[in-house]
Symmetry: D4
Subunit: 207 residues, 8 copies
């Protein structure tokens, strides 16, 4: 009745950022806009910090969906970037799957907009293809909380693990001693409450 712990391994993870486009973001309303932007950028920072292979994809970026969020494009200048010509499920795009296969990794971190489509469809496909799938729930947005709950249930029942960017970062880092300054800085820049702790600490011990 229990599952073995499939644990994120920085040497076996690929990150998939699906359809974080300026237009589509206007329909993602299950998170506060400020918090959601922060979550997406935090995940991107994690991908860079751990030097994880990262794959970007968009849907119809010349139309109303709008361009990929520019910060993401700038952060991954050399990453595979697949502007899908029409496939809604990114997994239906051969170039996208090939980019994943090329990494030779078996763990996939997926985030995107909207959750029940751009995230859930490739997540379900990837599970069937044998990958270990981790959904970064707070870097994925959709119309409202009810839709999110249905999407989470479908993915969870199929075998995806539901995580958040903070959990992802911590599970990858494993031990603070690997890099205290670097990882602490990453957290501070995306967690105001933690940054406050660091500032108080800094003043009180150095002041």
């Amino acid at each position: 009745m229990t599952r073995p712990y499939v644990r994120l391994d920085k040497n076996d993870v690929t990150v998939l950022l699906v359809d974080h486009q300026a237009g589509l973001l206007s329909v993602a309303r299950d998170f506060d806009a400020d918090a959601f932007k922060n979550n997406v950028l935090a995940l991107a920072d994690i991908a860079r910090f751990f030097e994880l292979p990262t794959i970007l994809t968009t849907s119809f970026e010349d139309g109303p969906n709008g361009p990929m969020v520019p910060e993401l494009k700038e952060m991954f200048p050399t990453a595979p970037y697949i502007a899908r010509p029409g496939q809604i499920n990114a997994w239906d795009n051969e170039e996208f799957v090939a980019a994943i296969e090329k990494t030779g990794r078996k763990q996939l971190l997926i985030a995107g907009v909207v959750t029940e489509v751009c995230v859930a469809f490739p997540a379900l496909s990837a599970i069937e293809a044998g990958y270990d799938v981790f959904v970064v729930t707070d870097a994925s947005g959709t119309f409202n909380p009810v839709t999110r709950e249905a999407a989470w249930d479908r993915m969870s029942q199929a075998g995806a693990q539901l995580m958040t960017w903070f959990g992802v970062g911590c599970e990858l880092h494993r031990d603070w001693r690997n890099d205290i300054e670097g990882f602490g800085g990453l957290l501070a820049s995306h967690l105001p409450a933690y940054a406050n702790l660091m500032q108080s600490y800094s003043q009180q011990t150095q002041g």
Copy 2:
């Protein structure tokens, strides 16, 4: 520990609209009335867009439950329409099951009012009968969110997949290139936020 991806296939899906009746709708209060009406009509538009076999059924429509919502009746003039003489679980009505069997399809999209009865009972029966069952959660309504959560849990644990009309439309469409104008129009007419994107895009590129 994982499930294969049972994916909606427009050639293998039948839509069941159960008890969307004018009276019963007055007790469905887990969704805002405007949004719920929109969700039900969006599902109906999807059924027509993909030419899915659709079956309508009602319970006691000459009594307090009231008539089937007129828009639905008008949209499916030739669909099987089973006014059940008393069975609460539509699956207990032989005519209803026969209509489903006649389609020869194995995937069922179910929506109705109220969720824990008119949707859950036939969903559970259909699963047992070997069908792949997809619940269109946002086109199904009930008394309050707590009741909805209990009903979702019962269906999900039995093997139903929880979806929403938007996810259903996208999973059926698969590729925008199949019909950009048609599917885009469908989305725009039911997603004000997406329609806004299209209008801005249209003005900015054509203006």
Copy 3:
């Protein structure tokens, strides 16, 4: 990956009302007090309408927990009534289990206060003992919604089915033709929104 439909059968169901005591009800705050009282009495009416064997039990009713809600006592004057001398899990009380076994039935409807203890403990014990367990979620109350969610998860994962009194009544009734007046009256007395439909219908067709 799917479950067979274990369906409530009025000839195979026993109802367990656990610790609906005047004092304990003051700690059940995940439902509005008016609605919760209505839910509990609706379940009791269903038990009587379908003549289901019903077993009442209390915990320390001479102390702060207070007496069983008087309406319940009056509705089931001849039902087994087990005032437990100390066992928290009613299933640890031999008299309680014996009363259940005596019914010879295999389906148990359980409701009580508080959900994560008085309901969950006997539910988990009954599942292990081979019974089919149905939790009447809205006739069971606890401190707050977060506690309820944890309790639901534990029971659902163990194999209990989560229902509400309305779903229970409909699944037992199966067909309106079995008794339109009786079942309609039951619903009307516990569902104000449905009673309104009946009144409008009545005036408009008879007026």
Copy 4:
């Protein structure tokens, strides 16, 4: 900067029940249906307990709005009952105003459906006509909480006092010694949480 205390006086109060009709109640969704029914009947019981002049009025009761809730009609068999032929603001109906004036009283308790129209319009008219107006907020319902908040603000700023049925009962009763049994019974029948206290008390002191 302060206001004198305009206090409800059972010898100077008239109760106005406006458009509590079976159909209209289906649109009042800012309160749970069980709680709202209880609130309206509690106000009616208060009106009878204190023998307050009570005036009923309806809008188009032969049409979709449906009949006055039958319990109210039965509780006030001899009360003025004004089926308005068309006026939306009951104060525009001369018969309604005449019935109020005939009571010779200067304090008005108003409740109705929907709050921003059937309650607010006569409340604002009555204030202008010099009456002291008290809105029974929880026996008045409307589409959703946002609408309710706007309606409350409009009435409050115009000088209406916002109350609830419990506060109304207590302010009218003033002293428990006037009738402990009667008023206690009224509260117990509409406040399950208070009834529980009474039952525990009763058992513990008499048992």
Copy 5:
């Protein structure tokens, strides 16, 4: 301590629709997108039904704010349409104020996006200029409910009356006998719950 009832008069009202633009609507998230669209169009239908002078204005419609919602433009083809060259407070635009003055009316109904700016600024200016100002709260949207509450408070304390489109329609109509079919049709097309009542009524009395 009370205010006289300043009541909407269809012969003295002008409607101001401020900045309902496709882009700006993507930031209005205190209402569900479906409900908000419905509210705005309902107000527009009311303006047309009562033949109220209506004035449209936009801010930078050639830029990211996007074009006026096309439905509004189509509904008021001959209305004054002021594309403001830069003024944030529409009242700072002389053409806008001149259009209002030209109507010779003293009551202003204002709705727009976003509430605390595009609605509140001209509302406060209009109050100071001596107009009676009514804010159509549910046809006005902003970032989140907290912002809305602050904006409502500022306007209410300054003397604006907070209303909703339904209240506006009813206060203008005054008496159903002025036009039962027309006004009923207007309500039915924007209030699904009311439309359901009409359908049930229609079937039950004509069927």
Copy 6:
């Protein structure tokens, strides 16, 4: 259009604790039970810290309402304690008013259960009698948030100032230098979040 700042003055304040009785607390559900208990005790600690005259009163403490919360009784062993024989509005009890007058103070801090009755009635009476009234909103509880909002509005419009225990403590203390240890300790014992700050500070500066 503005009010002068009526500021709490520890030499001019009397505290009124109205009907915080064990039974009545079971109906106060607009605050979490843990938080509410903390709020009431925090207010009591403030009364003692600033040596404010404090008056306790109860309603029918020998009946279902139950005894005054024992902590309060113990904290104010010599305070006037008025067990009202029947008056619902404590201000109708001459002994209660006499105890207030005897203090010779003009500012009243009122808290109690339930807000719309036990707090609002004496608050409105006190305002009329010329006192400056401050409601300690978070040490006052009632059935639900909607009731609370109506009660707040009635009191605020009449001229009461709405505060919370934390604001009360700070406004009375005025300057930390009056007693850093004492006031800090009071805050720490009732504000876990602040206590955490103090612990971190203590360790980091002394460790």
Copy 7:
């Protein structure tokens, strides 16, 4: 019954930032931490953009309250910075009031932590001193929403105007033509939803 429009004037406004300290921020939980940080920095950017005199003050920054948020300190290197030795109400600090008086301005924008103390106390004092007070509600935080509502009510009833940073910026800017790039950039950096509009616009018109 109406108020004249006291409108923010960039030549007559001073900004007061009160106690935005790293420790205190850990108790401000009525806003999401990400959103709150953004709101405070947005207000600071506005102060700089319009070159408004800005005054910073802290309470016990060497103790558990922690240091002023470093971003604020860096943004206003030459601003008056008053580390209060003990006064809770900043207005009780002569240096603070002198700094305000020195600006010769009569409009005060106040934000701080916590709302009911650090904001409300100086706001009420400033109103009494004859200033026009504007509370920047979303750059002010406190323990929970109930506390916030009480604090808002107290300040609003005393004559403060409740605003948000976005409204403040727009009311100060008055006309986009004063600086389109500058003000647009400010909005984009603090409103992700607006930034998305700008990106889509940019691509669609320049692409």
Copy 8:
């Protein structure tokens, strides 16, 4: 399709308290701070009442995370206390696992801050290591409810049982007759609503 009932056994349980540190608690905002503190101390009291082996661990307590909550340290003076030098997942610390193994027990109760990391990681590791894992959900806190839901789902799907401190206490106690006074006192000190029942009972039966 059902699970056997793995029931807490006081002779087979070890309690793990992970990272309840003063600094970290400032980021745990999915529970009210008062309630959360109470929940954590209630769990600690349970551990002591049943004399359960208890293991404390912290992460970087000399840095911003701050010291272990002092109450916990004081309550378990002789418990193993592992200040982890860097491992985020406590299970990666050999000393921690050794302390658990040394107890020779197979049931683990885990609580900590933050839920998705400090609780979930060791919970998943312990499940894989063959332990029966019970998460004390309400003594575990994190950033917000959405994060909590994702973390619960991950742990529940892996086989952890979700409980609360009250359920834990009751499942361990099994029978009130084991110690009525002791266990009753424990509940009363952490459940104000239950303490009220006891006080009313005490007065009414002894008074």
